[in-house]
Structure formats: structure tokens, C-alpha cells
Subunit: 338 residues, 4 copies
């Protein structure tokens, strides 16, 4: 390589377009050389906007493009497996957005192909690159809060995403789509999960019943080392996009997150107020860029992936166990899935 | 009555002595006329310090004291029932500290005697009188956050209380002793609980195993109306006494609690810091006084009790269900206890 | 003395009534034995309410009362001197509310009589007893922020007090009435002031012009040791009663103050808010009580006064220099007043 | 133009290099085509790093470069005038970093040439583009806080910059170098200043005496409409780079600024802490980029400059008046400089 990594992006939805922008304008060690999307016009337009040399409708054509060294997969989750497997077999470096897959089978297939081919495969969980989470991880690992005993995490969308996106056959449901971030954090910050118990309901958006998913849920975690955790999820935090987590130890605690976007307090009669965090883009822009930078760096200097297919599989298992627990109203052991 | 309520306090431990002080010095509509404690010397000394006319070793003597109009029960929980029943039969007004009793039987006995005798009986759950919780309750009830969908609550001691106090036969265990506050808040702020699931462990103080209790736990709540909740408890928040709660609704959220005692920020190289909330006394002093004032007011103006024996029983049922869930590792319906 | 200090209060306005309550109900080492006020009915009613044995219309009668050991002066400032001098000559212990006097002459007269008679005289500046200010003082004195270099302080009323109260002949004007607190803090936390420069204006309440005072002002301080400070005052902070201060040192800073009364955050669409600090009573209740307790303690154990007449004189000199600076638009040396 | 603005940067110090990066990688509507610096090697290296076609040692060569449409001046302040005048006469679009000049003459010369030639000239005051300041400006202008009555602003470096940089002949001294930002904010947020009074001293870094400047100062502002302000400056806020401001109105207040960089609270025994804002780059990165974007946009769509040479002159006049006031210990009218 000439010192820069040549990138091809598969899937140009909201996040895919953002990544195109980042690779084109924010990541000096990467070249955006190709993009693909089933919507031909979108591929063409994004290629033009971010000066990618080539654009394709089919991902196979992109993977076949010899200029493309690294394939960045940002398709709907249900296509992750086929694109990842194809790219791995073609000898490309791979970055794949979370969640790894909607199914255990799909996840295992990726994992197996990666092992078999030795392909470089890095999964996206951008929260691990946020300065708050990163510093918390370092402090916890360095023993600053003693032994970890509890983990808490909250993820809340400001409002329900598009119903079509939310259908479990597309998103995997609340736990696979949204909780997966917290499950990954739980593993990363605390250790492996042994069992889960989940409650939830359709409490804010009656139309969620039609698609067979809940809009609010709480998941109880029991870790293999006996420590415990709770994760709460909601689609209806209209006061902003709230992502916060906490690690409680025997010698202190670490609380991650914030609530204000603009550095301004408005003092009025009887009330002092500030604005809210609008969404994932504002909250995690730097983490997204740092994550892609980390991917590029790892490839360029031959480091192993920071987050692996196995990490994706293990987070998915927690999400599936939570889903099962919700349906069967009982604690579910992760070992049930082996 | 002469416009003031004549008070006799039974039990002069940490909280009982505090109440003696409050009745003597902070509650102008009350007279502290008698105190009792099995430790004769303590009763005598507290009577002297707060100018109570009479002091007794036995609670029956205090109840028999004709000057005593109202009996305030602050004994260890296991004695609540016998004192309360005796006082009710003697026609006294009663304030009883939480929890109502360690057992369903003891709770029901109080409830029955209160109904039978028509005695005035008010239970203590001081958090309901804290300005943060009170304002949150009013805002939630007035519809300011739309329909309630989730409840979260955290109670953390700064360090483990005395082991002897903690023994389940004395304290009732983590859920009955500490969680009971959060269970009462859950009922008060959200509605009746249908089932619970609890996890927990001995994670900070190995000696807790000897007495048969856990030091950290998380309880998942499922309310009768389908809404959900999570309560986390810890004995080892060395960074201060943390009590915080949250109600999430379809139109906003209410977050109750604070972390700083002294209004001072200390700005040092690389770090900005403040102090912590030392303990229950500093956090809830005003709530304790307001609660006793409310009891006195209710008696003096013939209002019904703000918190009843039935409230005590219902909170206890949740605590017992959580305890059972922890032992049997399954969700437990409150109806199992009927 | 019988272990308790017998108190007589002169002046039963807003603060005098509050002090009556504190002495009667919150200060176990004091007895409220007498009160006086030119409004006979008020004196009678307060005496009744707080069980003071005697009440008087004239302060001389109260001072003549042999039961009265300590005289607490809470009259309008313009009467401080005559009451204090009379009480000192009668051999009473004296607590006098700030400011010491409206004039240098009145201040010096008190100071001289106190020296001549050896009377115990303590001045009230309750902020020195606030936990935030107290801790800041201790930290600064212990060297935690290195050498002090700047002092900043803000005092803001929520709205203009009664015009009659505000008249300079009654209140002394903005600097003597309100700024005096910050000037005392400046001396206490930093050291003696050498010169001041003040700007100000009638910016919120046009009617202030009629009484010859400003409603907003900023005072620049130059301390004798070369360090500097700025104090800003306002009558129109409708968002609450704001009192905050800061000491900047070579090794850190201390920021004192807070903005929220109730421990509750209200999260709504696009806005997160909390309530405000209503007024001086809520902000400084504990400081007021601690200050009176300190006065009682000092008398009972024969300690010197915590804040002296000389402190009152020196703070007044800064206020008068600021007033002069405002009128003459030039920096004014405190030495001009000697 | 081809839709993009071709940029040449003169001066590649700390900020000049940063701007090169921004124009190359963050501003899609600009092309970085040339850079110049008296240090030939630096020019060459930056040109290489950010793919600028040309590099020069002399600014005249850069201005003569026909590819350069817009000249961005980031030289030491003392060279602003000659570069700006040269660029204006050459018909280039100009962005010039603050302060405009160290002298009134230098400022007027730029202003005159800009008027004479009709050149596009925009001055840099990045704080106006910070989301906190921008939102405050909009809210204040829309009447949300009623009539403005007071302005406060604080600028604090974490530690003293390089002595050589600080020499008044290079930096202009504390008021011209650092206070100029606050003076510009004062004008922008409140209106024109009529007179100032300043105090200050060498309080943290004794070596400041040698170069003839102070390290701490406070400036009192009197605005033409009678409103007032205070600005405090320090070179020794070791707890971080602090920039905060406040507008107090008759109907509320706006407080701008923040103290924490990483979204993490660390809860330890007796202390809860967070990190600090490291420096101007972290605090204002987005504002710097938005400001350059605004410059590019204004040029491309033929809008007038957002901040003019006249703004630069007027802010400088306040800084010079403050300097004079500090030396002469008297309030100084800005009209003295006309």
C-alpha cells in the first residue's frame, strides 16, 4: 500500500453516507475509492459528492474492484453476512457496522470465514471510542474504583425511528438493534454475561404491537463472575438522545454521559434550563471518526482488529437471550444457546 | 387537646434520639412528654436532654402514661407489631417507622388492629416528604411528563452498617431494610407492582455471606398496568450516600437526587471536584422533620394518615417477593403471597 | 449564668422575627426572654408566639430588663449606634446585624464604646458561616490554591425590595446595604482593600432614580497586597437569589454558590430545567442559625467575638469608597477616609 | 470561480498550521493552494502535508500567486497591516486573524485601504461562532432576557504562554492579546463601550515584570447606553482553559461556558471529580472551522464580511484604553483616542 488505505463502502443509508463523508474529509490516511448501493442514483451521487472514483449498484462489483483494499459494510443488518463472507473470501480488509448479524447462524458464518481465510475483520461499536467510555475503561482497568460490582446503562432514542426500520425482521428488535450497544459495553467494561432477565412493553407507541416489538425494556444482567447489571432501553426520551452508563466498584464509581449540547444556561423567572443532546450523530461524531481511524490504523500497521466477530457474536447472544427472556418471562442462561 | 400533641417515643437508637430532638426543638405543635428504651440509662439521659417529663424502660409503661397522646415507634423492626398493637388498643395515636414489620403476619396484625380499633396509624417513609420527590410526584400526577412508562431508583449506603444490625432476623435483609424505600416510591410514583425479579450477590463485604444476606442487588419491577422499573441497591458507595430516582414518561422525564453537599467547586490542576453527600441525616433531615410535622398536623386536625399500614404491607410484599426471587432465581408474582 | 444565654431582641422586622424563632426553637443554648419593637402589637405578638417572657415598645426598657443578658440588634441600620452604645454601657453582650452603621461616625462610636467598656460585641455577616464560604476559607488558608490573586463576587436580589427600605437614608444605598456582604468576604478571604472603582446605573427600575440610588453596579477592588477583585451587584436577577464568589489562586480556584433549590431535573422536549434559589432565607438559613449559635457559644465560653465592630467599620469604608467612586467617577483610596 | 475558493495562508505558526489542516480537510468549499512562512522549511513541509500546490517564504510571492483567490493572514500581529494592505491592493479576498493590529494607526491603515479598494476583508473572532455564544446572542437579540443591563466575561489561560510571545511589542500585552476577545464580545453582545477602568498586577509569574506586562487584570466597562460590564483576565488558571461570559437582563440571564472536557464523573471517597478543558483548540475547534466556513461562504455568495476591520479597530480601542487606564490608574474614555 502507498501509505493510505483505499476504501469501498457498501450501503449508503444514513450512516453509510456519513462514513463516506468521514473517509473523504476527516480521515487523512484513507482514500474513498468506491461506493455501492442498490439505489443506483444514490451511489452515483455520493461518489460524485465525495470524489470516489467508482460507484456500483451491486456490492459484488465493489468487492471485485481492484482499487478497493478495504470494504466497509453499512448495509441493513440482514445483508451483513453475505457481504462480509464475500469480502473475506475476496481477500479484502473488512469493517462491519453493528450488529454483526440478526442470527447466531449468520454470526457464526462470518466468524468461521474470518478464521478460515485469515481476513482482517473489525466490528463497529463506536461507544468504545467515546472519550467518556474510553477513560472509564482505563480507570476501571487500572483499579481506580477497586473491584467492579455493578454495571448500569441507559439507551434512549429521542423518538421512535421509522416503523419499517424497526420491524424485527429488519432491526432484530429492541435488544438486537439498540440494546446491543449496552450489551457490548457490559462485556467490555465488566466481563462475560451468564444469564439475563428482561421485562418490557409497548408503552409509548401502540403501533409497535403491530410489528411485534416493545418500545421500553429493562434487562437484568448476571455476569459469570457473580457481578450484576441493569440496562434500560426506551424509544421515547423526548428530552433528547440519552446514553449514559455507570460502573460501581468497591472503591468508587464512574458515571459516563451528559445531557447538554450547547454550553449555555438560560436563567428565567423560576427556571434555569439548557438544551438537550439531539441525536447519535452529535453525541458520537468524534467516536465514529476515531473508530474508523482506528480501523484504518490497525490495517495499515498490521494490528489485530480492536473489536472482533466474536465480540459481535457474544453481544448478539445476550440480545437474543434478553429477547427470549422477554417472551418467556424467565431468566435465560446464555448457555442455552450453545 | 390543648392545641399541642403530647408525644411519647418508644426506642431511642440513632433515629429515635434524632426524633426526640426534632419533637423537642423543631416541631412547635408537639410536646415531647415521655421516652422509653430498654436501656434505662439512655431513656433517662434523653428525657433529661430534651426535657421530657417522663422516661420508662418498658414501652407498656410509656403507653400507659396518660400524658402521652401519641406513640412514636422507633424500635428495632421486630418489635413494631407488639408495640403498635398495644398502643392501638390503648387508644393512642401512632407513628411507626419503616418497615412496618419483618413479616406478612406482623404487618397484617397491625393492619387488622388498626381497622378494628379505628386507631390513627401513620407509617414513616420520609422520602415522600423530600422536596425533590414531592415535586416530582406533583408534576407526574399533573401530567407534565405524559404517561409514565419506566421507574428507576438507586439506594446506596456509603458503607456497610453494623453487621449485627444487618442480620436478616433484625433488618429483614437488603430488600426489607433498604429496598423498602424504593418499593414504596415505586408504588407511590407509579402504581401497584405485579411481579419482580431480583439478582444480587456478596460482592464487596465477604462477611455478608456469614449473616446470609447480599450487599448488592438489582430488582426488576413489572407493574400491574404493564409499566416497568429497575431498582439497584448497594452497601458500598464509598463516594457518598446516593439516593436518586427517575420517572420516564411519554412526554418527558423527572430525575431526582443530587451528589454534592457543600456549595463549593474546587478547581485544581487537571481536576475539578466537589464533596459528597455524607449520609441519610444530611440528605433527609428536612424530610424527616416535615414527615413528623405532617403526622402531628394530621392528628391535630383529624386528617387521615398520609401513609397507612396497608402501604407498609404492600411495600413489604414487594421486598419479600424480591427476596424470594433472589433465592429461587425466577420472577415472583406478588399474588403468590396472598 | 445557668448554662443558657438569655436573649433580648430589639427590632422585629423580617429578620428580627426570624431570629426570635431561631432563638426560641433552634438554639438550645439560648433562652428568648424579651423582645422589643416600636410597633407595640408586633412585640406583644412575637413575644407570645415564641414564649418570650417580656415584651417592650422601647429598646431602653428591654436593655433595662435584668433577665436580658444579651441584646440582639436587628433594627433598621440607622438605629444601630444608639442601641449598641446603650447596651454596651448597660453591660450587655451584643449581637448586631450588618451593616454596623450608615456612617463612619456611627461605626467609630460603637467601636470606641466597645473598647472603652470592654463589652462583648459581635457583628453579623452570616455568609462567613455558610458551609461553602467556610470551606473555601479553610482551603484557601491552608494553601490549597497557592497564592490568592483574584477575588470575584456576585450578589443579586431576585427583585427590588420595597422602595422605602431602599432609600439611601435607610439602607445606605446599594453598596452599604448589599455590597457590604461582598466587601466583608473580600477582606475575610483576601485581605485589606486599598482602593476601589465603581460603575453603576439605574438600568432596571426607573423609580430608583427618585430615591437617588442605582440598581446595578460593578466594583473593582485593589487590595493592599496588589491582588485584585471585582464585585457585581444587581437588584433584578429574576431567575433567583444569586450569591456566588470565587477565589483564583496560583494553584487552583474555589468557586462558591449554587443555582438549584429542589433536587429535581425536569426533562422536557428540547429543554432540561430546574428551579431556582428563592431568597436569602432559603440560601442562608443554616448560616444564620450557625452564626447565632456561634455568638451564643462565644459568650458562654468567654471567647472573643468572631466578627468585630472593626470588621464592620472596615467593610463600611469600602462601601463608602465605592459610593464616592460611583459619584465622582474615579478610583477612590480608602485612605481618603482616614 | 469554480465553486471552490482557492486559499493561500500567510504565517504557519500554531494557528496557521491548524488553519492549513482545516482548509485542506474540513472545509469542502475551499482549496488550500498555497502557504507561506519566513521559515522556508516549515512552508515546504506544511504544503506537502496538506497538499498545497505552492509554498513561499515571502508573503508577497504568495499574494502574487494567481491561483490564490483568498489570503488568510495568521502572521504575528505586528505584520498584519503590511500583509493585509498588500493583499487588498492585489485584489485578494482577505481573512485576518485577531487582533487587527497592535496600533490604531495600523488598524486605520487597513480600514482605509479596504474602503478605498473595496476589498473583501473579514476579521477573526472565533468566539462569535461558538454555539454557546451564538445562541446567547440570538436569545438576547430576540428579547428573551429583556433589556440587557450587565455583561461579565472571563478569559483564563491554563498557564503563561511563551515569554517571547507575550512581550507587549509582539502580543500587544494582556488586553490586546487576550482581552480583545472579551472586548469584541462586549461590543457584539451589548453595544459600544464609552469608558473603561482597569486594575491588574504581576501576581503569578514574576518574570512578567521584566517584559513589562501583567498576568492578571480586571476591566470595568461602561457602555454608551449606560449599561455596565466587568472582564477578568488571568494567565494562571491551572485548572484548565476557562472562557465564560454572562449577560444579565431585566428578564433573565444567559451564562455561557463549561468546565468539563470528558463526559465522565469520577466518584471517589469524599470527592466527586471530572477533568478540565485543556485549551483553546479543544474549546473552540468547531468555532474556528465554522468561522473559516463562514468566510468562505461570504466570499462565494458575495455576502459582506461578518466581522469587519472596523470591528477590529473598535475592539482594539477598548484594549488600548484599558492599557492606558492600568498605567494611569484612572477611568479612560474611548473618545480620548479620537
Amino acid at each position: 500500500m502507498n501509505g493510505k488505505l483505499n476504501i469501498g463502502i457498501v450501503g449508503l443509508g444514513r450512516l453509510g453516507s456519513l462514513y463516506a463523508n468521514y473517509f473523504a474529509n476527516r480521515l487523512p490516511d484513507a482514500n474513498l475509492v468506491a461506493v455501492s448501493d442498490v439505489r443506483q442514483e444514490v451511489a452515483k451521487q455520493i461518489a460524485h459528492e465525495y470524489k470516489a472514483k467508482n460507484w456500483y449498484q451491486g456490492y459484488k462489483d465493489l468487492i471485485a474492484d481492484e482499487d478497493v483494499e478495504a470494504v466497509v459494510i453499512v448495509t441493513p443488518t440482514k445483508f451483513h453476512t453475505e457481504v462480509a463472507v464475500h469480502a473475506a473470501r475476496a481477500g479484502k480488509k473488512i469493517f462491519c457496522e453493528k450488529p454483526l448479524s440478526l442470527s447466531i447462524e449468520g454470526s457464526v458464518e462470518i466468524k468461521d470465514v474470518v478464521e478460515e481465510t485469515g481476513a482482517f475483520f473489525q466490528l463497529g461499536f463506536m461507544r468504545r471510542f467515546d472519550s467518556g467510555y474510553l477513560t472509564a475503561k482505563n480507570k476501571a482497568d487500572s483499579g481506580e474504583i477497586g473491584n467492579r460490582v455493578q454495571f448500569k446503562s441507559t439507551s434512549r432514542d429521542r423518538e421512535r425511528p421509522d416503523l419499517d426500520y424497526l420491524r424485527p425482521e429488519n432491526s432484530g428488535g429492541l435488544f438486537v438493534d439498540m440494546g446491543i450497544h449496552d450489551f457490548d459495553l457490559a462485556r467490555w467494561l465488566m466481563g462475560e454475561v451468564k444469564s439475563v432477565y428482561a421485562t418490557g412493553g409497548v408503552l409509548a407507541y401502540p403501533e409497535m404491537s403491530e410489528i411485534g416489538d416493545v418500545d421500553n425494556a429493562i434487562v437484568n444482567l448476571y455476569f459469570e463472575d457473580g457481578t450484576i447489571g441493569a440496562i434500560d432501553l426506551s424509544r421515547n426520551a423526548i428530552y433528547g438522545y440519552e446514553i449514559c452508563s455507570e460502573i460501581l466498584g468497591t472503591n468508587g464509581a464512574l458515571q459516563i454521559g451528559y445531557h447538554r449540547e450547547t454550553p449555555l444556561q438560560v436563567m428565567k423567572a423560576n427556571e434555569i434550563s439548557h438544551d438537550v443532546v439531539p441525536g447519535f450523530y452529535e453525541r458520537f461524531e468524534k467516536a465514529y471518526i476515531d473508530q474508523l481511524q482506528n480501523f484504518v490504523d490497525n490495517v495499515l500497521v498490521n494490528s489485530p482488529p480492536t473489536i472482533t466477530a466474536d465480540d459481535g457474536l457474544k453481544a448478539l447472544l445476550i440480545a437474543l437471550a434478553a429477547t427470549k427472556s422477554l417472551h418467556e418471562n424467565r431468566p435465560v442462561e446464555l448457555s442455552e444457546f450453545r
